[in-house]
């Protein structure tokens, strides 16, 4: 009975996502997963972001709060690397990500000395946080391309965080706001529902 209801509600096959260009399946000899290998597990389904009205707000404990357009964000230096996303559900994907470094954006807005936490917010109300030093000491990308194709709305257009060495729930999609805070105990969407705040891959994701 329950299975039948679930089949009707959710067990529909995942549609193929169309991209602005052909995705690559290999990079420097390394085999890549397909963009269609992701499982849809967002909290409110695909978000359609109008790029003409889109702004990335960077605020909180910063010297110069800013609102960037999509193109302004893309104008920061571009980086690409292959990083594997491991989901707590048990699946994983190996993807070539291209985007800008979060620390470059932070250098532009200049965090105040008391800032110790960076909080990312998404269009659908999702949020997650990291210690500020995680993005400052690592090359953490905010990606706008996967496998050489612009990120599709289903995968987090315009920006998805590539939170390497963290569980998939820290890889926030549809980012529209970054806030710097002095609250290291801030809990994002899944963190406030029992998931670990650190989200480290080498630790259990449940508290």
């Amino acid at each position: 009975m329950i299975l039948a209801i679930v089949v009707n509600l959710d067990f529909v096959s995942q549609p193929t996502i169309s991209l602005d260009s052909v995705e690559i399946n290999e990079y420097q000899g390394e085999k890549l997963s397909s963009i269609n290998d992701f499982r849809e597990n967002s909290i409110k389904g695909t978000q359609k972001v109008d790029i003409n009205t889109y702004h990335l707000e960077v605020s909180g404990l910063v010297v110069k709060p800013k609102n960037y357009t999509y193109d302004q964000v893309k104008n920061f230096s571009n980086y690409q690397k292959v990083v594997k996303l491991d989901c707590v559900e048990g699946w994983s994907v190996n993807i070539l990500w291209e985007g800008v470094l979060v620390k470059d954006i932070l250098n532009d807005v200049k965090p105040l000395p008391q800032a110790n936490t960076i909080i990312f917010y998404a269009v659908d109300g999702y949020s997650t946080s990291f210690p500020l030093e995680y993005v400052q000491k690592n090359q953490i990308i905010m990606a706008y391309k996967m496998n050489n194709a612009t990120i599709a709305p289903e995968r987090g257009f315009p920006f998805q965080l590539v939170a390497e060495s963290k569980w998939g729930y820290k890889w926030i999609k549809w980012i529209n706001k970054i806030e710097l805070s002095d609250d290291p105990n801030y809990q994002g969407y899944w963190e406030s529902r029992g998931y670990s705040n650190t989200g480290n891959l080498n630790e259990n994701f449940l508290k």
């Binding site: 209801i5 509600l9 559900e89 029992g194 449940l206």
Partner: protein, 80 residues
Amino acid sequence: MDRKTTKKIVHITLLILIFLVILSGLGIAYYPSIEFITVGLLDKTLSFQIHNILFLPFLLILLIHLFFSWLWPKDNILEL
């Protein structure tokens, strides 16, 4: 406790565990639907916890069930 009762207990326990393992598995993979069906009682985090906690007991009861089936085949029980 005779063999028949023991086997019955193992059977029922296994059935309950199978149901809970499948339900919690669905609660992980299809959490919006399961949360809706269970009126929010079984969310994704609880599903993970149940799934993790029940895995070893499920495996143990399954092995006991198989062992009993091998040790006491159905025909033997009918003879008792």
